[in-house]
Symmetry: C2
Subunit: 228 residues, 2 copies
DNA sequence: CGGGTACTTGACAATGGTCAAGTGTGGTGG
DNA sequence: CCACCACACTTGACCATTGTCAAGTACCCG
């Protein structure tokens, strides 16, 4: 697939006229990183932002003792690292590839020019940032107001695709990363999955999980306690 | 002060040409609410967004058991409730006045038209949302990776105005609200302030707090433990 | 087949939340 | 102007959740 089609396929650039897409292509840097590569670190001066073409990038914070909290995973077509373009100049978190990933980089100055000229690009960006704000309010809510079983239940329901999902799902990340995403540690995830299994709410086979009792899982997500 | 000057003083509208400012005035609704008024609730359909002219509004989440987590306080010149204009349509959190407050309301459809026409308005909005994202990543980090003494220490340092502050500060909110902002409860705040006092790190007189040992407070904010 | 990583399980500890019973304290009405 | 009431705040005893540490098992990749 050539670069212009890849660019045209990025939701952020939806609605851009062809000439401007070509302009975008001209200033893009196409980079492929192996698994575990640090794309940027918190506090670094930002010279632009990234879009994931393929692969997966995790955005995370680190505590002084080395514990990590994943803010979100970025996958195909999504962008990351935009915040410093509009506020502050420095990255607010770390970014690291979780698997071999192809990224397009867009330099800040050019992009700011483009966005000033094209209202639909500005609107797309506003929509992106707004969605992320919405997810962050949810993350704050879960970390502060819900217990781990509740967060885990909510995540399983999310993965299974809500009401009309099949009830079968497969984790795309390790349980350790899942723990970090939910603001806890692998041991706790392990124990809670164990409890859920022994109560026939779910069935776990490695990374494959089947939901056996969706109602009960929804109750857990809503705050009901998991019996000891 | 007349309305156009108030509008012109709102950071979000900085750089707008005079004719457009007058357009903005024409569609604004000027509302004053008493203390404790619910401006909107989570999940409500949004028809526009708000700017605080005077007073103070808290944006917060509620757990199923009624515990609240304050996301942030909005004061003079700042806006809130913009997220649904660009993503989702529904408010992601609750908004309530903390004191008697004067708010300007801007209907969604009009504002979207305006923002499409005026790139500087879009840029201002992008900067606002980006700053809020940055604060939220910080909130997530603190809730997930830091303990309450650390969060409280960081907040006191923030209030005291950083390095060059006087060391004297006054809380603009009750300690109960401070607890909710830091993701904990009043009892815990009370206990930790007590410990900090008995170790001569701070001095508390009602809502007035003096920092006696800034170095120690900074160590706490960085993750050092508070001795029992 | 080997080695490292992911995962599990158990015993323990600690942070911080719950419940309860106070002690101020500011504002309002008599 | 004072008494009272509501509300903010404090303090203590207790306990739930979850993190820490340690050891062992399973599993994937080369």
């Amino acid at each position: 697939m050539n670069i212009i089609d890849l660019i045209a396929g990025i939701p952020l650039f939806r609605g851009l006229p062809k000439e401007q897409l070509e302009e975008v292509v001209a200033i893009t840097t196409d980079q492929t990183f192996h698994k575990g590569h640090t794309v940027f670190s918190e506090g670094e001066e930002a010279s632009g932002f990234y879009v994931v073409i393929s692969g997966q990038v995790k955005i995370f914070k680190l505590s002084s003792e080395g514990k990590e909290q994943i803010l979100h995973f970025v996958t195909g077509g999504e962008s990351f690292g935009e915040v410093p373009m509009f506020a502050g100049g420095r990255f607010p978190a770390h970014a690291e590839t979780v698997e071999r990933s192809r990224l397009f980089f867009f330099p800040r100055a050019f992009f700011l020019e483009l966005i000033k000229k094209d209202p639909s690009l500005a609107m797309n960006m506003l929509a992106d940032l707004s969605k992320r704000l919405r997810r962050f309010t949810q993350l704050v809510e879960e970390l502060s107001l819900k217990e781990v079983p509740s967060r885990l239940a909510a995540y399983l329901i999310y993965l299974s695709g809500g009401e009309n999902g099949s009830g079968d799902l497969e984790l795309s990340i390790t349980k350790g990363q899942l723990a970090s995403l939910l603001g806890t540690i692998p041991e706790t995830i392990s124990r809670i999955l164990g409890k859920m299994s022994s109560q026939d709410i779910i069935e776990v086979r490695g990374r494959k999980i089947s939901i056996m009792n969706r109602k009960k899982l929804e109750d857990l997500a809503a705050g009901e306690k998991l019996i000891v």
